[in-house]
Symmetry: C3
Subunit: 156 residues, 3 copies
């Protein structure tokens, strides 16, 4: 709970695949619709979700994920990652969920706060300008911990 008793949710996004980007976006959006205060913190591979260049080109791969039901020997073939990504994007679109860039914009417009992780950005040599306009600021882990006081924290 925040000081004024409002429910808070902090979502740490550390994965940059299509299938791990949507859970964070869907939960953030649902929480905002419930009147919950939402903060998203993008770190490590999760920065791909908010990088201008990559946000609408996230990929999903069956490789290393036997739950997708494709043998690894097939998963390594060139084109399989692209195919799996395209298929998943189509399914998501059919369900009327917006593409990543639009979803990020929607969440931000609805009041969701969005931060890039300074350490991960330094590691990947990214500047604030490389991230989309919705990123409110670039912050360190200590600032994130301060902001998430009283929040439910989800690490994706």
């Amino acid at each position: 709970m925040s000081d004024n008793g409002e429910r808070k949710l902090s979502i740490i996004c550390s994965k940059g695949t299509l299938d791990m980007a949507y859970p964070g976006l869907v939960l953030a959006n649902a929480a905002l619709m419930e009147g919950i205060d939402v903060t998203m913190f993008f770190t490590f591979w999760g920065l791909e979700i908010v990088k201008r260049k990559s946000m609408d080109h996230l990929k999903a791969t069956p490789l290393g994920n036997p739950a997708m039901g494709m043998p690894n020997i097939v998963g390594i073939l060139p084109g399989v990652t692209a195919m799996a990504s395209t298929m998943m994007k189509k399914e998501i679109e059919k369900l009327d969920f917006p593409p990543v860039s639009e979803f990020v914009e929607m969440i931000h417009d609805a009041g969701g706060k969005m931060y890039g992780c300074r350490m991960a950005m330094d590691m990947m040599k990214l500047e604030k300008e490389d991230l989309c306009d919705q990123i409110d600021d670039v912050i360190g882990a200590m600032e994130f911990m301060e902001m998430s006081d009283g929040a439910q924290i989800i690490f994706i």
Copy 2:
């Protein structure tokens, strides 16, 4: 905390591999034994844990997981995923942990509530009948957020 002051735990299961199914089941079981109110929400690949067809056939792969100590070039060979999965199942059995379907039943019998995620099920074209009997309902992300008010949330 719930309205009556009871401790609550919400576990989101988003992975469908053998090695990521057990942490959720073990934590849910431990929490129930401690008298904690437990809700499990199965989404994306985590639906494999509660799909009748797959729940006792989850796999683990060394591919993309260097922590398992096997070179990727070996990991892609046909049969390696099956072998790694069989070995892990044997180790789990030796420790007297039940197979997935039995564990899910145990947790549900002990009062754990279990829900499928509507969006992920639509994406994967799954109906409630495709999931095991222990699934109490199929719900959306907003309903999940409502249920997890006051809970400790774990995203696996």
Copy 3:
């Protein structure tokens, strides 16, 4: 919150790759600097982070992680995992973050408590002696649930 009103953070580390070890260590360190009570619980592949033999030899692989921007067909080549791991270690070092063993020591010295998961250790045939000196104890999931009463829980 703990009984005395102190903020608590429980971090479950279940991954043994270099890129998933640092987020837990960085958050634990940041939380301690904010005066938060920190407990780390190492389970499944996360035990690699605190195993004497592996802690300074964690690896990162582009395989199964398209966010790293390398085709899977390249990712399986012998030496690619080693190369990606070395590059990441150099970047982390440049940012003045300590290697894993030193970081674990720093966190423990600052008051962070560290526990190995009994079930995972039994499964991997590990004894307490196989883990580094900073591990306070080996505990079960029920004990972990007791300790994390009132804590914000992060599962990595």
